[in-house]
């Protein structure tokens, strides 16, 4: 038993070291925007489709939002809303945070 466990632990150790250097699918975040029809911000931590779907559920609950696009490749989320109902940046960030994800601080503002 001890040999098996030692072997298993060493295997995990090796695997973890390999993982630390594994390249991440990480692209430069697209700059955030907000206009009369939509708002879009970079979002971090969308590690699986099911998790990312939480974002769709959360944003679609905001008044006026009728469509949400989640781009896991770029790490960017866009919420489209009826004119006059586009969520503010704070509302967007609050919804993303409540879903367990992060809007990076370094995202550049733009309108």
């Amino acid at each position: 038993m001890n040999h098996s466990f030692t072997w298993a632990a060493l295997s995990l150790l090796s695997l973890s070291l390999a993982c630390q250097s594994a390249p991440s699918q990480q692209n430069a975040p697209t700059a955030e925007f907000r206009n009369a029809e939509a708002i879009g911000l970079p979002v971090y931590g969308m590690s699986c489709p099911k998790c990312a779907n939480n974002i769709t559920h959360k944003l679609i609950d905001l008044v006026g939002v009728f469509d949400v696009e989640v781009d896991m490749e770029r790490g960017f989320v866009t919420a489209k809303a009826a004119p006059g109902f586009v969520p503010t940046r704070d509302e967007f960030v609050e919804a993303i945070t409540a879903a367990g994800f992060t809007v990076p601080d370094s995202a550049g503002a733009g309108d």
Binding site: A8, S16, Y44, G45, H57, K58, G75, F76, A98
Partner: protein, 269 residues
């Protein structure tokens, strides 16, 4: 010593993985606020009570989780147990619990590291032959990290002692204070890179599961290796895994496990 090595390995994994949830290793994943996740798993296990004798048992388990907010959830486990050809299925002990994701660090579009603590108890609500007959508390600490296509996770579960099940299937049903350590590596096979729209992903998983009495690390214990597959779509996931015993030691309260096949479905709404 065995657990020290495992814990060292677990700690060393900490820089690496997060959100793909493997089959046997607890993951710090939660439903979003106000949302539900239902996980249905069917497990078919083969035991060897004595040399040359094989016994098949099965477990159908439902876990319903509800997200209280972004970091907390409650869950309910409803197991149904089948104990071989001679006995039909019966309801096992219901478990209730609370899960708190106390750490989340999102460092890239798909990169994240998370940790959670679950506390709960199984209640003596099962049928006579499928109950421990007592309230049995449990605690679970889980960590996961996802970096690009690779996810790594570990979990450590402690389950308090109670009356043993009459025919225990798993290590935590033997009436002893039990400890389970599990570690998982999950590799995204497809897609290699995500597209601009939300799409399903397929993962290959390898897990290492160890069970032992918490108060006697040189006593009854077992080590299992479980390869598997996980398919994850935006609103549901399917999983398939087969646990193979690598080694067992001092098993007295339950028969040797020859292998266990797990099939599961998870639904999010």
């Amino acid at each position: 010593m065995r657990y020290l090595l495992s814990l060292l390995a677990a700690l060393s994994l900490c820089g690496a993985l997060q959100a793909q949830q493997a089959s046997w290793t607890t993951a710090p994943t939660l439903p979003g606020e106000g949302h539900w996740v239902l996980r249905e798993t069917a497990t078919l296990a083969w035991h060897e009570p004595s040399p040359g004798e094989r016994r098949r048992s099965s477990m159908l388990s439902s876990r319903l989780s509800y997200g209280l907010d972004g970091e907390r959830a409650v869950f309910l486990d409803l197991p149904a147990r089948g104990l071989g050809r001679d006995r039909g299925p019966s309801l096992g002990d219901v478990a209730v619990g609370w899960k708190w994701r106390f750490h989340a660090q999102n460092t890239g579009p798909v990169d994240t590291t998370r940790m959670s603590l679950s506390l709960g108890a199984t209640l003596p609500s099962g049928a006579e032959r499928s109950t421990s007959g007592e309230v049995v508390p449990f605690a679970d600490l889980a960590w996961m990290s996802i970096s690009g296509r690779l996810g790594l996770g570990t979990s450590l579960t402690l389950e308090g002692g109670g009356d043993p099940y009459r025919r225990p299937l798993w290590a935590d049903e033997t009436g002893e204070l039990n400890m389970r350590f599990a570690a998982a590596a999950v590799w995204r096979i497809d897609p290699v890179r995500y597209s601009s729209s939300l799409q399903a992903a397929t993962y290959a998983c390898v897990e290492l599961i160890s069970n032992a009495k918490a108060d006697d690390l040189d006593g009854e214990s077992e080590l299992l290796l479980a390869p598997g597959l996980l398919y994850e779509a935006p609103s549901f996931a399917a999983e398939l895994s087969y646990a193979l015993p690598l080694h067992s030691d001092e098993l007295e309260s339950r028969p040797e496990l020859d292998g266990a096949l797990l099939f599961g479905l998870r639904f999010l709404w």
